[in-house]
Symmetry: none
Subunit: 416 residues, 2 copies
């Protein structure tokens, strides 16, 4: 079964709202093994909604249309579906009762406008779940079907998981299971990854299952997505597991995490295992290292804190940095030692460099030094990054944490 998703709303086209509903529905369809090849966004215009529905029905067996089911005159999804079905709308007395009940439950009377929501294309029927005041619809057209759900996320989610996915799976008969896994890497560029994995990609291409794709995601790392299809869930999982094993053999320690694991959560876990604590001194990252670390629930187990030393005086006085240039390897190392001592942690990390837009101490934007001080000594690296001020700061964070990750893995008994 192929199912397309159409999101209705002029505010989506104007960029006033980002369409997160389609992404969420896409994920549910993928997990249910339903092919979803296209998603469309269209404004609150009946003729264009009709066009979008017709284009989708030429390519797919089912369409989920999302939004435009409210009580106002802009809400024309119902009328567009009736036009595509070639039928009139009729008043559904049971739906009217349910809408009135929803208002009554909140101690309010139903405004007259909401009567529009009880109008249903002839041949269609309401979706049983109705968490808000907007009824969803299921409207058959021959062997095909249009589902309509409101644009309010928690309302549509209940309808999609409660009715639509099950109905699509029933239509599909025994359907294919699709499973995917993301391996997160740091250390290789996207093209280098592609080069290293080319033999795997070529080997997989003849089967077309599983597939591999790359995704550069800034501070989230460079992701490799493996997607596998099979008749049964365990078979899809086995395909994923085997492909993951192959890729890990090729990339080794460059893979830092899987699926929801971030560089920060991995670092926190590694430190916790070793019973070690962490402190950070930040210059160009300005607090972003600390923000990312403390975004992980449970960070307080290992994280003592951080000093954002933005003014040079703070570097000299609190971190006891020797007076002189601050965008150097030596400065990064001294900052790491200084913050380790100041905050009483086992590991001190530091960033200094040029985020831009202007140069500093004769160094170009993107020139960054990262420092590490711990039981095993003091060390630093110079990394050269490209991109906007924000991206340079983000890539500095992941480079710094990856530096520590590799050192922790290389010295498993560092605190022992």
């Amino acid at each position: 079964v192929r199912c397309e998703v159409i999101a209705v709303g002029t505010e989506l086209l104007l960029g006033q709202i980002v369409d997160t509903n389609s992404a969420w529905i896409g994920e549910q369809l993928a997990l249910a093994g339903i092919d979803a090849h296209y998603q469309t966004r269209v404004g609150d215009n009946q003729q264009r909604i009709v066009t979008a529905l017709r284009v989708a029905l030429e390519r797919a067996d089912a369409v989920i249309v999302c939004g435009g089911l409210g009580p106002t005159q802009d809400d024309i999804t119902r009328a567009a579906i009736a036009e595509v079905m070639g039928v009139e709308m009729e008043h559904d007395a049971n739906v009217e009762i349910r809408i009135r009940e929803r208002f009554a439950a909140r101690g309010r009377e139903m405004p007259r406008n909401n009567l529009r929501q009880a109008q249903i294309p002839v041949g269609g029927k309401p979706i049983p779940q109705m968490p808000g005041t907007a009824p969803g619809l299921q409207c058959p057209i021959g062997d095909q079907v249009i589902y309509a759900v409101p644009g309010v996320p928690w309302e549509l989610r209940e309808m999609v998981t409660g009715t639509i996915v099950a109905d699509l799976r029933r239509r599909a008969g025994a359907s294919t299971q699709i499973r995917s896994r993301i391996l997160r890497t740091w250390g290789y560029s996207e093209s280098k990854l592609a080069e290293l994995l080319a033999p795997r990609i070529t080997a997989l291409e003849s089967f077309g299952n599983p597939t591999i794709a790359f995704l550069a995601s800034g501070i989230e790392g460079l992701k490799i997505r493996i997607t596998a299809k099979a008749a049964e869930e365990h078979a899809a999982a086995a395909l994923l597991g085997e492909e993951e094993r192959q890729i890990r053999t090729i990339l080794g320690d460059n893979i830092f995490g899987c699926d929801e694991q971030t560089m920060e959560s991995v670092i926190i876990d590694l430190l916790r295992e070793r019973g070690m604590t962490l402190a950070v001194a930040e210059s160009l990252t300005g607090g972003l290292v600390a923000t990312r670390i403390t975004d992980v629930a449970g960070a307080s187990d290992v994280f003592h804190g951080s000093l954002t030393a933005y003014a040079s005086a703070v570097k000299f006085e609190l971190l006891e940095l020797p007076r002189g240039p601050v965008v150097t390897s030596q400065a990064a190392e001294a900052m790491a030692q200084g913050v380790r001592r100041l905050l009483g942690a086992d590991v001190g990390l530091a960033t200094t460099g040029v985020a831009g837009p202007s140069s500093q101490e004769g160094q170009q934007p993107g020139t960054v030094f990262i420092g590490l001080a711990w039981t095993q000594g003091v060390d630093s690296r110079c990394v050269r990054l490209a991109g906007s001020r924000r991206l340079i700061r983000e890539l500095t964070v992941i480079s710094l944490l990856d530096f520590l990750r590799r050192e922790l893995i290389a010295a498993p008994d560092a605190n022992g």
Copy 2:
């Protein structure tokens, strides 16, 4: 001129990434007065990208296709465009040189894979802006045109604003000017804003121009967007200006900024005007206040730094907080005083509270204390916030900075 947007990437369909690029492009097209009636998302599949391009070209004069221009084998947008144009691809030696230069600037050699990016459909040409290593394309098809831009946000943004919007406006001849302005507010809820502005909204409804919309945007504040249309730019600007004046009369100091002004940039400007410097002590925000402040270029004029005091020991020892509970008004005030002294700044700010998911010191998640210490004395507030761990942290940052903003406005000569 009608322009559609197609975002390419299987990860978009699978819901692994939310398509924010299309929203941003939609906004730019709207501001330039270019009609954009449909947006489509399609996976990394050449035949389906071709179908999406053909459907779009049946309805529109121009298409912006976004993503799939990287160096790997799943980057097939170039080939799909060539197929729609009915032409071969050819190697562009100048583009190759530019890609090699990009790598050389980072001290790296161009991997062989990146040669794919110098393949261009015959008749197409590269977009002049090329901030990353992926060239954009402009490919005419008769009177129509396909623009291709990479999926990396900062790369595509430079191409869209630098070339594509201007080219579309040139194609459109004289068109209606649409201008919008965003007033950023903090202090009132969305429903309270709607209530206060109801008379304006009613007054505007009969004309339909300008229009007003609300958008709750977390750490960016609660936004009011005014949109005006006119034949000439200055007339649209005059409509905007008049409506802004009306809204400012109603909301006063609750409006903290306009368009690109953030709470952080406003605070930095207010401090700079007064010749004052700032230091921050962070507990639950974990570095996020500092990150937001240092995201503004020029923050170093006023920002000394921040201490993320995540471990209680750091609060007691470095900030000289009296031992005892740390989620209190008194703790927030003592932290603000401590960091002001420690980092030698005119103004000290502090956050302490419970981000969740668990309670702390018997306080529920969302209970937050913000403190201020400066020439005018010491003060604090308790705010109660709802939402996820991340949202509570974000709302704490804007609440804290708004607290300082109102105090600075109330005491214009505080440093004098």
